[in-house]
């Protein structure tokens, strides 16, 4: 029943927030996300001592068509739930010195998003999983659309339709599996255990893969992403890049690999090449970008490209690396977008070359920004390093030259991130009369927490690896 509590806290909070107004809704949102975080810590303790049993919830939903509701928990789910519930308070807090129109609706949607994300990660039945996957799309669409910037109508609709195309293909895949399986069950365990689906996995693979590839996004399914990241309000971008994108990579491991193993084996060379090419391609575009948010968007594509490449290497180090890196990237990218937002908010300038000279005005901000940048270029001792190292090792085990190409990401990443940092923060101010107040209290809390997390997970990645090892082994053995 613990899983039900994890789901109901954000849901109740999101409904409650609709009846509040003004500053109260923000505070209440923070209280509830912290409560959820506390409960997640408790859940972690329970999971360590008692395993998955207290989380398991299996109910029949409807007899014809035979549908079950099944929530459960394993190491991988727990890791993603922790990531979600850890980032949410930070995301709420980052909005404290901003004025948001209609905050009750904004934060209500945000908490609803948290509810849906928790559901995605805890669902162990294909149908429930699909419902939560779709549910997560609705709040983020409204957040990006209602509170978004220029051209939001076109861009967010493109985003919505793009991701829905993927979802519906996946729905078709699930329907097909449902009809194909003798028990008419979409339960994860039964789908993993019995090698029932002897059907043609060649194209079944693509139904699922395209859905996840759009969400992640893997090139060439990425065209919705840079514009959406730019248009969405910063907190929305944080949700999108920090957590929602992880839905895709998580689902690759959770659903794609065990359900269509033959299809995966068949298409592995093509897909992994696609991912690695995507890494380099996105890095090069990131180098050319002048718009700060778009630069970060492309850097994000490069990073998740590497994560997916590690997943499709289909070995333990690749998979573990991908989970470590998913956790790390979630934290880093939220930090990066927050820094970008701070800069944009104070200078009203999103152009990398048009700012400069912040170091002198805001030393604290510059320091913490540096920490986040270092984390994302994978400096040893930061969280980015562990993950990327393991990922590259995984790709290396699969294919030597491919890993060399993928390894370029470290160099290229350093090029665009450090150049961006240099141009934006160091040097002389390009803008005249640049006023740049240093960090406010809430910004300090967020950035320092992120900074600490970057180092802590960089120095002690072992708990993450231990947590997820058993699940990954089951999946690999399959």
């Amino acid at each position: 029943m613990l899983s039900l509590t994890l789901l109901s806290i954000p849901l109740i909070a999101s409904l409650l927030l609709l009846f509040t107004r003004g500053g109260l809704s923000r505070n209440l949102a923070l209280v509830f996300t912290l409560l959820q975080l506390g409960f997640t810590v408790y859940a972690y303790q329970v999971f360590k001592t008692e395993g998955a049993a207290p989380f398991d919830l299996l109910r029949n939903w409807s007899a014809k068509p035979f549908l079950n509701v099944h929530f459960s928990m394993d190491g991988m789910s727990l890791l993603m739930v922790i990531l979600t519930n850890l980032l949410l308070p930070l995301i709420v807090l980052s909005g404290y010195n901003r004025e948001t129109e209609r905050p009750h609706l904004f934060y209500s949607l945000m908490l609803f998003m948290q509810f849906a994300l928790n559901g995605v990660f805890m669902a162990f039945d294909g149908f429930v999983y699909y419902i939560f996957w779709e549910l997560a799309l609705i709040p983020i669409y409204f957040i990006s659309f209602v509170w978004g910037g220029e051209n939001r109508a076109q861009i967010t609709l493109k985003f919505f339709i793009y991701t829905l195309v993927g979802s519906l293909l996946m729905l078709f895949g699930f329907l097909f599996l449902y009809n194909g399986s003798p028990a008419h069950s979409l339960d994860w365990a039964s789908m993993v255990l019995n090698k029932s689906c002897s059907c043609n996995q060649t194209w079944l693979f693509w139904l699922f893969f395209v859905a996840f590839a759009i969400k992640i996004p893997i090139i060439p399914f990425h065209t919705w992403q840079p514009d959406t990241y730019k248009t969405a309000p910063t907190q929305g971008t944080m949700l999108l890049s920090g957590i929602m994108l992880k839905m895709g990579t998580y689902s690759l491991i959770r659903w794609l690999l065990p359900i269509v193993p033959n299809g995966v084996m068949e298409w592995q060379p093509l897909v992994i090449t696609l991912c690695v090419v995507g890494v380099v391609y996105a890095s090069i575009i990131a180098i050319m970008q002048r718009d700060l948010k778009k630069l970060l968007a492309y850097s994000s594509i490069a990073h998740v490209g590497l994560i997916s490449a590690g997943i499709f290497a289909l070995n333990l180090s690749g998979l573990q690396g991908s989970l470590v890196q998913m956790f790390a990237h979630g934290i880093n990218v939220v930090g990066l977008f927050f820094c970008a937002d701070i800069i944009f908010n104070r200078t009203c300038n999103g152009n990398v070359e048009g700012i400069g000279g912040i170091r002198l005005l805001a030393p604290q901000f510059s320091t913490w920004f540096m920490v986040v940048v270092l984390g994302s270029v994978a400096l040893p001792l930061t969280n980015g390093f562990v993950g990327e190292f393991m990922l590259l090792y995984g790709v290396y085990e699969y294919h030597t030259w491919l890993s060399v190409v993928a390894g370029l990401t470290i160099i290229l990443g350093a090029v665009y991130m450090l150049r961006m940092y240099q141009k934006v923060v160091l040097g002389k101010a390009v803008m005249e009369n640049l006023v740049f107040p240093d960090l406010m209290w809430n910004e300090k809390v967020v950035l320092i927490t992120i900074g600490i997390l970057i180092f802590v997970t960089g120095l002690f990645p072992a708990p993450i690896i231990e947590l997820t090892e058993p699940v990954l082994k089951t999946i690999i053995n399959k």
Partner: protein, 458 residues
Amino acid sequence: MNTIIYTSVLGFFCMLAEILNLRKLIVPVLVLGLAVIFGLNLNDWNLNQSYYNNMLHVDNFSVAFGGLAIFVTLMVFILSTDFYGSNNYHISDYMSILTFILVGALMMFSFSNLTMMFLGIETLSIAMYVMAGSKRFDIRSNEAGFKYFLMGSFASCFLLFGIALIYGTTGSFDLGKIAEYTIQNQGNISPLFYTGMVLMVFAMLFKVSAAPFHFWAPDVYEGAPALITAYMSTLVKIAAFAAFYKIMSATFFYTSEKVELVLMAATILTLLVGNLIALAQSNFKRLLAYSGISHAGYMMLVILSAKNQPAGALFYYSLAYSLSTLAAFAIAIPMFKSAGTEDISAFNGLSKKNPLAAAAMSMAMLGLAGIPPFAGFLGKYYIFTEALQSEYFYTTLLAICCSMVGVYYYFKVIIAMYGKPANEVKYESTFNFNLVLWVCLGLSLLIGLNPAPILNIF
């Protein structure tokens, strides 16, 4: 059976009320009466009885669909007090005609004889022709009524001719006897039987507004008064589909290979036409007309897989569709009234003026688009599983792709409400409209979250 009789009595009461000067009583009596009939109808659950030499057959199918039809009518009656508030003079005529539409629909759910089906369809259609043209001084409404009448009577001719041919070959109007004939004569069924069957299918395709017989729908939906459009797009469509399903599942599936191709072509065409043309619409009623055509396409999948007896899927889908459509109209009607236009632009900036109404409209649109947790999603899911089980593989894939297209035009309304600058129109709703709105949305959410009782109804 009782429901049909009592509903007719209600219809006669409306006409008498005009003479006896009881006009004020009409709506309360109708609402109360329908509520009572709703209860009486449910009382027939598991009754399974035939009446009048097997002309009518009351079973769970007819009770369930009858309940749905009565519910929809009840909602429309609640709306009509405010809708017809300004020209009170004709209310008795309108109400009695609306009630007779329900009578026709109830006959279409419970017939077991083709003559009875024809009577039901005609009772419903003739009343509907009148209602479509009921805004007498509006030229569009006149056009709608006339167009609907001309096309509809052609369709009725086809239906009648089809029935006659089938009678000629089988010697009976009775569904059971016709089914018997097709089983006994497998392999050497007279070509006249197929001709009759295809003619009947054409007529039914017209009634459910499936392509290529859909041309009347946009014009009639647009021209008819908004409340009648709501009634037409829910009750008439459901009744036509239920009757269509009933003949297909009772008689024709024994010989379906021949009809299958026709039905499949119609399904594919309906899905494409409905969804693609809806993209270009800027008038809300026309949009809903094309959306209705596309929903007809999804429901056609049920007809296609009629040999699996997927009545549960049809019922769930009809319920989900009518709840969302009624909710959409419960906001749109007051909106149109104050805006003076029926364009989507009437909704511009509604979220700033009335966030609650905008949220409700979004919920209705999401429900129509088939996004969870609303009932529309599960309805589609159920239909697609049924279609896949009958091995309509590519048609299902096409239907899924079409629901993707659907999202675009439903979101046009959402974008207008949340993204466009506000217009000066004030949104003023009344208690009745809000009541219908929230009852429908609440039910849509409820059966979306807890579908088991409805899904397993048969």
